[in-house]
Structures are given as structure tokens and as C-alpha cells.
Amino acid sequence: MRSQNLLLLVIVLAPVLGSLLLPLTGAVSARLRNALAILLVLAAVVGSALLVPDAMAGRTQTFRADFGLGINFALKADALAVFMALASSLISAIILIYSTGYIAHYANQNEYYLMVVLFLGAMMGLVYSANLILLYVFWEITAICSWRLIGFFREPMQVLRADKAFLVTVFGALAMLLGFVMLGSQQGSFDMPSAPISVALPAAILILLGILSKSATLPFHTWLPDAGVAPSPVTALLHAAVLVKIGVYVYARLFVVSYIPPEGFATLVMAVAATSALVSAGAALLEHDMKRIIAYSTISQIGFIFLGLAAGNELGLAGALIYILAHGFAKGGLFLCAGIIEHGTHTKDIRQMGGLLKTMPVTAIVFLFCAFSVMGVPPLGGFFGKYMVISAAINSGHLVLGLVFLLGAFLTVLYLLRLFNMVFLGESRGLAGPEGTPVMVGSVVVLAALALASGLAIYWPALLANQAASQMLGIAR
């Protein structure tokens, strides 16, 4: 077991500390730096993958160093954490490979790779952390990284948006920190309890504010569409793989596994998520900026994930996890496709596009498949997630909220196809970009293939997700 515990440490520290080497490496050779960055992320992927057998067997790995005042460096790898880590690191790895093509012509590449890898490392730390303060530390590191990354192109508007995203998420995070302090005072330590304890409503609400702001859920969502000014791999990373899932994950970690939220809290979350899903889906239908549409779509889909988690039954939890995975692949793919399109046409306004199917056939098909997954069309992964969370909501007796989500799902179909229509179909409006570089197209094809595989081979991810769900509830009940 000792080696497994150290493995846990390596998964977290390798990207976090390794990322600091990247600018130095970059001074020597750009290729070396890129290779090292990919290597670091792959370390996280492989490390998490090595933890899967233990997680499947229901064994929990821990690493622990006590610091005093209840602030401890405590890592824990249960099935939930392993699932989440594997999903996010895998997507991040693909996005990073894509970046090597996308980012190659811009300045500040050292900073880019530093931030992306640090981001992933922080995500790993967050996922595995078993201490509230440690979790908060990693939480905010991701905020720093996203701030730098959103403003990557340095245009005034982009920097402004980066600041906005940072401020909104930090506002939420600080509320959450206050909630953590309340919890810490209540239980005398910031370690997450091994057996769930109940949490008072004020603390729960404060923590929820943080979660909502990070997961870009109403009413803290508007930073996410605005953050679309970032480079595409970043938006993919932010929206799809890592950032917005953090909030969802922490919800699962805290309010399902570690603490018992007060009566009616789950319904509140569901209602917020439903409103969020509906409002953002509606906004996506009117928006003209390609990336903003996809971002609104993310907000909307996050609502579905919350629905599954808040439903609280095993089906909902497993569904939410599968949704996280499937949505990660699909949304990552969509953003990277958007990146290819933007790269080729130098615009994000879909009113200026059209007829790109001819010049970008592969991108179009990949785009379509990823969109299918988000819509919940079998055999792609999104189908199972969507069915499971909606079913879970109905099973938990929230029929009306379920119907709101049904409406949200309708709108999802509409806005994604509208987007496809405007971009790829119809007459070309003079913008006919070429297909992306082989690395970029290859990456999106891999993502689309994963989106497909996550549906066709649902059996295996579902095993882990189910194990996680039952472990979560097994602890909670």
C-alpha cells in the first residue's frame, strides 16, 4: 500500500512542481518543453489509471501529513476521486497535444504551458484532497491559472474578461472559504469527516455559492461565456475538462460524501440548476458568437450534472459521473472544433460563416458527433448520462423540475443544430478556412472517438462510476 500512497503524491506533485520547470525548459528548447508538459500530464493520467484497480475493489488510498490547526496535507483516492481524476487528466492530455499545434504561433508559450500543466496539477490535487483548506488552495490555483489563460492574447477586452472571471470565481470561493471556516469551527478540524456529519444551512449555502461560481451556474455564470475570448484549447480545458467540473465535483465530495446537507437543500440546488439550464440554453439560442454558444451550452449541461447529483440516489450519482465524462469529451471536442474553425476563418461570428462543410469536412463530422453526444443521442456517451440524471430526478420525486430539464434538453438540440447549420451548412459567405493542422484535427478526432466510445463501451466507465456512486452512498447512509 505504501507505494500506492506515494503514487498519489506523485500524481499531484508531478504536474504541480513540474509545471514550474516548463518556463526554464522553454528557454532551452520549445520541443523539449512541449514534450515535458505532455509527459507531466501523462504522468497524472497513468498514475490515476494505476489507481483504478484499487478503486474498483473499494479500497481507498490515502496520503497524509499533519500540519496542525486542522489544516493538513491529506490526500484520499476513492472511486469518485479516481474517476474524476482519470476523466479530467485524459481530456487535458488530449487538449495539451492539440495545443502544440494551436498555440505554436503565439507569444508567451512558456506561460501557457506552465499554466495549463499547473492547472491540471491543481485539479489533481483538488480531486484527491481530503482536507477543506487543501482543497481550497488547489481551487484557487486553478483560478489563477484560468485568469492568466483567459487573458492569454492580451487584448484589453480579454484581460477585462479574465479579471471578471477571476473576480466572480474568487467571490464565490471566498464565500466557500467562510463556509469552510464555519465547518472547521464546528468539527474542530478541516479534514473531511470519514463518516458524514450534518452541516448547518448557512455554511451549506456559502459553500454552494463557491460551487456555483466555479461551475458557472446561475447566477454566477456570465463569466463563462465571456471567458470564450481565451485560446480554444484553454476554453476547452476550462469549459469541458476541468474547471467547471470542479464545482460539480466538490458538490459531490462535500454534500454527498462528507456532509449531510440540511433539509430541502438538494431541492434548492436542483431548482437553481434547472433555472440555469433553461436560461443558458435560451441564451445559447440567440447568441451569435460560436464559442459563447458552446459556453452557454456548458452552463446548461452543468445543470444536468447538478440535477443528477442533487437527486442523490445511486442512479443520479452514477449518471452525473458518466455525464461528466461524456460531456468532457464532447464539449472538449466542440471547443477544439471551434478552435479549428476560428483558426481557419479568423472569426467567431456565426453570421459570417456558412458552407464550411466543404472545406472542413472532418471538423464538421467531429463537431456533429460531439454535438450528438451533448444532445444525448445514442450510441454516444451523453445519452446514458442524460437518461440517468433525468430518470434519477423523476425517481427522487421531482417531476416538475425534470420537465424543466426536458425543455432544456429540447433547447439543447435546437441551439446545437442551429450552430451547426449556421457554420457548416448553407452558402459560403466568403470565409472558407482550410482544415486545421494534422495534430489539431487528429486531437478532435480522438475526442470524438472517445465520445463515441464512452457510449458504446459504457460498460467499463459505468463500472467505475457505479462503484463510486455506491461508495458515495455507502458512506453517506
Binding site: 455564470h221 445514442p378 429540447f410 457505479n466
Partner: protein, 609 residues
Amino acid sequence: MSAIMMWAPILIPLAGGLLVLPMRGKSGLREIVALLATLANLVVAIANFNSVGTWTGQWVGHGLDIVLLNYQFSAFILAAAASFALLVCLFCFRFMREKTSANQFFAYMLISLAMVDGAVLADHLVTLLFFWEGLLITLMGMIAIGRPGAFKTAVKAFVIVGISDLCLMFGMAMAGLASGTLVMSKMHLPVTDAFNALAFVLMMIGAIAKAGSMPFHSWIPDAAVDAPLPFMAILPASLEKLAGIYLLSRISLDLFQLTPESWLSPLLMIIGAVTILLAVMMALIQKDYKKLLSYHAISQVGYMVLGIGTALPVGIIGGIFHMINHAMYKSCLFLTGGAVEKQAGTTDLAKLGGLARKMPITFACFFVAACSISGVPPFNGFFSKELLYDAALDRHFIFYIAALGGSFLTAASFLKLGHAAYFGKRSSEHDNVREAPITMLLPMLVIAAACIFFGVHNSWPLRNLIQPVLGARLEGHDFAGWPHSMRLVWLTVAVLAGAIMNHIAGATVYGSGINAVDHIHYAPLLKPIYEQAERRAFDPYEIMLDVAAFIARGAWSVDRAIDWVYNRLAVGAAMLGSTFLKLLHTGDYALYVAWALAGAAIVVWYMVS
């Protein structure tokens, strides 16, 4: 029954489809592969015909398993689907030969077949849904490879069917909760309470939308124009009808216990009646071979929904019988349309004419199928319609009148179509038109023969295929043979005669077949309505888009309002405070001293008190 045989109807076409997909060019190999796959599928379907078996596999967990069940009803649908697929495939052997996208067409068709087979075999709601929705992608693909611009129609089809499938998903989840299981053969829900009724309605939406009933129909006429013709013959005409009505029957018979007393029964019947009338009204005025047929494909669904909606054995039997009949004559009609398109180069009725001489066999097939759809005895359509009339009259005469009116207009429109395409004056462009090749004729002939066989010898399909579906609910009835009520038959004949007279009168007045129904088209009250309809004012798709846009605008304003809070309000409030404080800082040291002294005074006062 072995697992291999159980899975074969799904895997064989799927493998064939995947094999065909990369075969670009015009090698001819892909046609052969497709043909072999469909043939093998038919063989399997026939081999499985009388066996009963289940297969269960663990899948997602939480009771979301793969459960397949092969029993009488599904075997019947499988066999029918396999037959149509084989015939359409044969038809395409020549029809698609020159098309570059033929590999995609065959692949999508085979995968669609696999999906339909899977959906029909499924005995678990999620398994069903998986295959059911899986059809979406191939549906979209098949339309998209039609003429340029067809992708938009494909998107429209996808949206409509996709949304109804989401309803189905939701309904399934509700039904699963209500019954505590997702295994279809274990579900028997009453529809007395609101929850179950809602579940039923949602699932019904999924079923009838797949079948193409109103208000989920509007993509079909568009697809008729844009998609490759065999698509119409295989999906909207046969496979989707089979699947849709199959599911509708399953949910009405097994999953829910639909009774005539339930308010859901009239609901279904109203949907059916409205679909019959409105769609046939639209069919009547069409000036395009394929588009006219496509409206009939909608209209005829109305009969089936009406029949099943009666919740009477006779109606349900009639509905299912009509389903299989419709699949036959409608695919035959579409194939004749395909033959005409292929040979004459157009399907515009204004440009066609006098083809009966040039393409006698095609015309013969058309004649048989047209008689069938119009309900002319002794073709198969007549017998299923009589059963439906019987059932409709049993519930309320208004439904009967609607059904009969539909028949009148159906007959009128086919008289118009036949007259315009096959008779009348011959266009000089079509001098070189010759009969279609044998691979195209053969499927038509087979189906036409089957139409006659199912009509003349209707006891075979009814007794062997359809009545067993109902099982005990049949209550000993036997609907085979000549209709029981001669009164209804005479009424039918009278209506048909009326249609013929109407046509003769119209054709005489206007001088051509194509304009034979103009007196209806341009009737005082109908004319503006028709004009609106032609402009798609009544297209539910457009209405839905408007509603969605309305919701979206509301959502958008909420979103902007929230953004305003961040971008303006929060910033503004902070700035206001900042500005106010800044104004206080004049830079005057006396003022600062005064503050300090005042502060000190307060502190000292506090300390003292």
C-alpha cells in the same frame, strides 16, 4: 434460442453497414454487400420467426441492462422490416448506382435496419431507447446525402424526431418509476392516475412521432423532395411506420393498459383523425409525385393511430394490419416514384404524362398500390380500413366520418396522381422513356403481389401475424375474411364512386388530371388556408421554433440582466463608494487633522464610557 441468433438481426446489418461505409467509388461491391446483408437478415428473421427467446446482458448497472426478447410480435415486425430492406436494397441496386454517396446510403440504411431491429427486439426500455434514438443519426445522414441543401431538411428531421425522442426518454423514466422495472414485458401500468397518463402521453409522442403522425410530420414532405428517393421508401414509408406503430401498440397493449374509458383513448383518436384529414388535404393539392406520396405517408398514420386509439380489439387489429399494409403499398408507391424519377428524370407532375404506355409494369404496380391505399376492394388496404371504420364507428360516428372523408380525398388524390403521371398528354421530352430495369421492377412487383395476396387472402396475415399479438384481449374474435358489416362496405364503395365522379368532373372542367381537384384547392374558404399552409404557416416545426425563440428571448434577458449586475451594478456600486470617498480626500491637511482629532475624540470617549 441462441444468443447469436438473438443478436444476428442487429449485428448482421450493422456489420454490413460498417463494411459498406468506407467503400467509395462505383465498384458495385457495396451493392452486393448490402444485398447480402439484407438477405442474410431476412433469412435470420424467417429462421427466428417461430422461436421465442430472451437475452439479458449487464450494461450500465442500476437495472439498465440489455434485454432482448424475440416473440411473435417482434418476429413479425422483424420479418417485415427485413423484407422491405431487401426489396429496397434490390431496387437501389440500379437506382443508386451512379450516385457517389451510395456507400453512405447503403451504410445508413443497413445501420437503420439494425437499429429498428434492435428497437423491436428490445425488451428493456433503455435498450429500446438506445436503438430507437440511434436511428436519429442515420436518419439525418440519409437525408443529408440527398440533393444539395438537403442537410437543412436533415437537421429539421433530426430536431423533430430528436425532441420527440427526448419525450419518449422522459416518459420511459416515469414509467420505470411507476412500475418499478424497466423490463417491458413485466410492465402493466394502469393509466388512471395523472402520473401514468403523463408517462403514456410522453411515450406516445415518441412513438407517433417516429411513425410520422401530426404534429411531428412536417419533415417528411421536405425530405421527400430533398432526400434520395429510396430513403422515403425505406424509412418513412416502412421501417419507421413499423417501429412507430409497433411501439404504440406495445405501450397501449402491454406497458399501459389503455382502455376505451380512459381519456387517452379519445386523445389518440383525435390525433389520428386530425392527421388523416389535414395530411390528405395537403396531399390533394401537391403537384409533385414524391411530395404527394409523402403527405399520404402522414395521412395513413392517422388511420393506424385512430385504430389503436379506439382501444378496441377490432381497432387495434385494424391499426396493425393497416401498418403492414401501408408499409407495403406505400413503399411500392415510392418505388414507382423512384422508377419514374430514374427513367423520366423528374417527378414534377406538370412535366409528366402518358407514362402508362412507356412503363406498363410500373404503372401496373402503381395501380395496385393506389387501389390499396384508396381502400378499393379486394386489395389489402380495403380490409384494414374496413376494420378501422368498424372500430371508429363503434366509438363515435364523427371519427368514422373523418376516416371516410380521408378515404374520399385519398382516392381523389390518387386519381389525380395516376391521371397526371400515367395518362394525359405525353410530353415530348419523355419520348425516350423506357421501362425500368428488372432489379427495380422486381421489388415493385413483389410488393404489388403481396398487396393483392394480403387483400384476397387476408386471413393468412390476420390469423398468423396480427391477431396473435392481441392474445387474450382478442376475446375470441376473428377478423379474417370479408368485412362483417355490408352497410359499411357499401358506404365505402359509394365514397369511392364519389371520388371517381369528382375526378371525372374536375378533369373535364379543367381539362387535365393534374388540375382535377382545383375546385377543392381554390374553394372559397380553403384557398386562403391552403396558401397559408404552403407558406408553412401551420408547420408545427416553425411554430415550435417561434416558441423556442420566445423562450430564448426571455432567457436572454434574464442572462443579460444578471450580467448587468456584474458589469454595471457591482462595479458601479464600488465605484460610487470610491468616488464618494475620493471626494472627501481634498488634500487639505487641516481636514485630515480634524479627522484625526475627531477620531481621537471618539476613541477617548469610548474608552471613558
